[in-house]
Every structure is written in C-alpha cells, then in structure tokens.
Amino acid sequence: MDETTVKIKAFIVEEFMPDVSPDELEDDFDLLTGGVVDSLGLLKVVAWLEDEFDIGVDDSELGPDSFRTVAAIKEYVDQARPTANAE
C-alpha cells in the first residue's frame, strides 16, 4: 500500500472510527453511505488534506464523489500535487 493511502486511512480511522484498525478499511468502502464521514466530517477531511499534503482544495470541487472512498481521496491528492506522484 502506498504511503498516501496509509496516511489517509490512518487519519480517517483515528478521527471517525477509533475502534477500527486502518488495514480493515477497504480502499473502496463508501464513507458517505456508511455514515463514516458526513458533510461536517468532510470539512475536517479537507482541512487535514490541505495541511498534510500542502494542497489547496477549491470549494467548488467539494462534491461528495471526490471524497467518497479512500481511493477517491488518494486520487484527488495525487492530482493536486503531480510531483508527489513521481517521487
């Protein structure tokens, strides 16, 4: 598992599901349908992403689908900082 995915899972688990171990969280688990992240939680996720990966998140991009799964969040991060991917 790549570093970005590990970090994302660790954050989500710690913040929203402290009783779960990060490796139990599947990349494609639907965080919204599963009620893990609601609209307020989403703001927390975005603030953390901006801070952790030093990226800017445009409010207009805050559609639910960008952050529906760990895989989607990772993809967003990768696109927001293309250089990180090439490292």
Binding site: M17, D19, V20, E24, L32, T33, G34, G35, D38
Partner: protein
C-alpha cells in the same frame, strides 16, 4: 342500568357454574379446577370482602401473582361490584404504594388474606398520606372512574409512574363477546394464558374464556421461559387458542427444532404486543399445522383495535413488515398528519383510534389532555392518540413505523431511532442496542449508537456501518458508534434505558 352492567361478567360466570359445574374452568399445575371449585374459592374471597365492611365508594387494590386464588379474588370483586386496581406485582413497593394511593383504595387485597405481611406493609404505605390530592381527594370518582368501572389496569410505565386505566364494564363486556366470537371460545375450548394477571391480554385469554364457559390453561409466571413446560402445557391440555407475545412462539420453536414436536390441537394463534420477527412467523405453520394465524394491535387504553389474519404463511407468504390489520367491528381509525389533518392517500402519520372497549380516560385526569382528543367528525368520538406512527400503503394497508416519541430531526429530516436500532439489531453479533439523539449545534441532532456485542466475536463500527449501509438512509446512519460488552442499563420493565445510556455517554465525554 349501570348496576346490571357492572355485574355482567360475574353473572356470566355464575351462569356457567350453574350450567356446567364439573367442567374445568382452569388448569393449574397440571390439575383441572372445575367451575364449581373456582366458585368455591371466589365465594370464600367474597365473604372476606363483605365481612371487611369496606367503604362502598372506594376501590380496592389487588396485589396478586397469577394463581387460581388470585382469579377467584378478581371474581369476588366483580361480584361485589367493586372497582379494583390490578397492578404488576413486579413493581417496586414504593411505586405500588403510589399507585394504590392515587387510586384511593380502601384496602389492598391479596389472595392469601388481607393479613399477609406484604399486603399489610403496603397498606401502611398507602395510609402514609401519600394520597394524590387530584385523585384521592373527597371528589370520588375522578374523571376516568365511575360506578360502572370494574377493572383498573395500568400502562407499562416505560416513562415514569404507570398510568391507571379504568375500564368501564360495558367495554369489557363488548370486548369479551367480540373475542369469544372471533376465536370460537365456548364450553370445551381450552385457551392458554401466558401473560401475567395484570396485563390487558388477560381480558381475552382469562376473562373471555371464563365468561363463555371455556377452560384457561394458566402458565405459571415462574416457568414462563421454560420451553419444555410450555410445550407440555399446550399439548397435554389440547389447547385450542394461544395468545402471546412473540417470545412464547420462539420458545416453542426451540422445542420443535429439538424434537420435532408440533401442536395440532391449536386452531387460533394470536401474536401481539411486539413485532414478530419474520423468521419466527415463517415457522409458525410447522408448529401449528391446523391453526389460523393473527396479529393483533392494541393497548391498555383502548384494548384491541386492529386484527390481521395472515394468509398463506405455510406457502411462504411471509410479510417482512406485518400489517397492523383491519379495524375490529365498531372500531374507528384515523391517521393524522403532522399538521393535525387526516392523512389522505399514502404516507405516514400518527395512529389514532376509538374503540367500543376503551377507557374514558386515565384516572388522573391531568394526564388526559395530550392522549385523548375529541375530533370533529361525524361520530364526535374521543380518540386515543396511540403515539405510534403508521404508514398507509397504496393498497390501503397500514404498517407500523415506530413510536412518535422516538422521532428526532437530524439535519432537518425526521428519523426514527427505533428504525435505526432495528437495523443494527439485525446484525448477528449484536446483543442489544440503544440509539439516541445527541444535541448538536450544527445538525440539530446527531445519532449515537451504543451497541453491546456478543462475547468472543469481532464487531467494530466499520462492520456495523457496512451492515447498515444497505438497510438505512444516510440520515439514519449513526454519527458515532460505541461498542461495549457489558449489558446496557435497563428500565424497571427490563427495556433498554436510553436515557441512562445518554447520561453515560455525556459523562464519558465530559471526562474526555
């Protein structure tokens, strides 16, 4: 006129004694007790009541566990034309004393004589000036009472002190005739009585049966969870009618699975008081190969109001959401929208009902305004607000959605915490669950679930969320889930105490 109505049930019993003195009236502990023998017990109790010279205008309290003597005591009160309060013996002595005081009883009677210690100590508590000024003052009877009241039962009291529900004799009379007709209860019919003596269900299984000359097979409260005992009781006595909460059927089902036993004598199977799980419902025809199956909806205030007969259970026609059914003859139903108008077409609303059997109101009249409302319709009846939310489907059938009390607004959407609890409860690793609404500045309320899991199984919030995702809407999904292994706090009636769960949660949050 009221004089003849009051004595109606007692008179009918006397008729049966004359008509068939040697026929069994009760089965207790494997032994039949004939109508003549039961009359003997009732006469002894009657003499005791008469010799006590109790004031005419006051009710009595009955504190009795189910037994032939307890039934005889009720028969004696009926014959003496006395109103009687019959609360659960499981209640705390303090609560019992409060109820007896509220009803203004002159005496607390027990089947083993008024001198028994517990009755004496209770009487002392009653005398202890705890009398409720509203009901026990000089103006007797209060609103819901009246000289035609016989039975006074209580609500289960899941919130606070149980409410006293006086039942007019005319209502009891009409109900017991309907029940006898509907379930073919007559001389020779054996009916099980599973519920404790203070339950409204006894109006069907005990009092309808004794009025119409049948025989009641009494389930001993101390053995009510023993499947083998219950199975024996049904089969040995050739029981024809069974009315019970779903638990009885689950217990009989366990016996059936173990030794293949069936209950061919039973003609009518009635489930009531709780939602029956579809898995139990589906197996009923295997247990009772010759029976018809019904779900009955009712409450202490109105008695039974709706009946649904299941069709084609044996052919696998098992509804996942049991319809509450059709009104019993004479019953009038109203589904009321949030804005107070009758619901037209499909949708949800509060179930309101008027029945020919219902109380005129709680004994404590200050409780009545919010539960009994006069509706301006053709009949001009006073309807009982059940607090149950029902859904009307396209075909006109009604199904239960949950209790109005359990509806909360989450982000502006009405959500039933009961629906959420049911979804979580369906996970096999879940023992019990409480879902509560936690006030939230932004969302109004957020849902929290405290879940007790089975020992030695893996369960975490992620697994539960996956389980719930297919069952619940987004707004119904709890924001936080706490999984524990110790039992959740319970109320005095054994139900999960959500208020205590909420208080615990608040404490743990306050402590960081």
């Amino acid at each position: 006129m009221s004089q003849t109505t009051i004595r109606s049930l007692a008179d009918h019993f006397a008729d049966q004694v004359e008509r068939q003195p040697d026929a069994p009236a009760l089965i207790w502990d494997g032994e039949p007790i004939s109508y003549a023998e039961l009359k003997g017990l009732a006469d002894a109790a009657y003499d005791e009541i008469e010799s006590a010279r109790l004031p005419d205008d006051r009710p009595v309290g009955i504190r009795a566990k189910k037994s032939p003597e307890a039934i005889a005591l009720v028969l004696a009160c009926l014959r003496a034309g006395k109103s009687f309060l019959l609360p659960s013996i499981e209640l705390a002595p303090e609560t019992l004393a409060q109820l007896f005081a509220q009803a203004g009883v002159s005496q607390v009677l027990s089947p083993h004589g008024p001198r028994s210690q517990s009755a004496a100590s209770l009487r002392a508590l009653v005398d202890d000036t705890r009398a409720d000024p509203e009901t026990a003052g000089s103006e007797w009877p209060p609103a819901g009472g009246g000289d035609d009241v016989t039975f006074m039962l209580t609500t289960s009291g899941s919130t606070g002190l149980p409410k006293i529900v006086p039942l007019p004799a005319s209502g009891v009379d009409a109900f017991t005739d309907w029940a006898a007709d509907q379930f073919e209860i007559r001389p020779g019919t054996v009916v099980t009585n599973y519920a404790p003596l203070n339950f409204d269900l006894c109006l069907l299984d005990i009092w309808t049966t004794l009025k119409h000359g049948g025989c009641v097979a009494l389930v001993d409260q101390d053995r009510a969870t023993q499947g083998a005992y219950l199975a024996e009781l049904v089969n040995q006595n050739q029981v024809g009618v069974v009315q019970a909460v779903p638990m009885l059927y689950r217990l009989l089902l366990d016996v059936h699975r173990e030794d293949g036993r069936t209950f061919p004598s039973v003609r009518h199977v009635i489930t009531t008081g709780d939602k029956i799980p579809p898995s139990t419902l589906a197996e009923l025809p295997n247990l009772f190969p010759n029976a018809r199956f019904y779900n009955i909806y009712g409450c202490t205030e109105t008695n039974d109001s709706l009946i649904h007969e299941f069709q084609g259970l044996a052919e696998g026609n098992v509804p996942s959401n049991v319809p509450v059914g059709q009104p019993i003859p004479g019953v009038i139903v109203r589904v009321q929208s949030e804005d107070g108008t009758p619901l037209e077409g499909t949708g949800t609303g509060e179930f309101m009902v008027w029945t020919p059997f219902q109380t005129r109101g709680y004994l404590k009249s200050s409780l009545n305004a919010e539960k009994f409302v006069a509706v301006e319709d053709d009949a001009g009846h006073t309807y009982y607000k059940s607090g149950d939310i029902v859904r009307r489907h396209e075909d006109g059938t009604l199904t239960l959605e949950g209790r109005a009390d359990f509806y909360v607004k989450v982000r502006g959407v009405r959500v039933s915490t009961q629906v959420v609890e049911q979804a979580i409860q369906e996970h096999p690793a879940v023992v019990e669950v409480a879902v509560i609404a936690v006030p939230d500045e932004l969302a109004g309320a957020r849902l929290h679930a405290t879940v007790r899991r089975e020992p030695d199984v893996k369960l975490n919030s992620l697994i539960l969320r996956q389980h719930c995702a297919t069952r619940l809407a987004r707004t119904e999904m709890p924001s936080t889930i706490l999984i524990v292994t110790e039992p959740l706090p319970k109320t005095s009636t054994g139900k999960v105490d959500r208020k205590a769960v909420a208080a615990e949660l608040e404490r743990s949050r306050a402590n960081g």
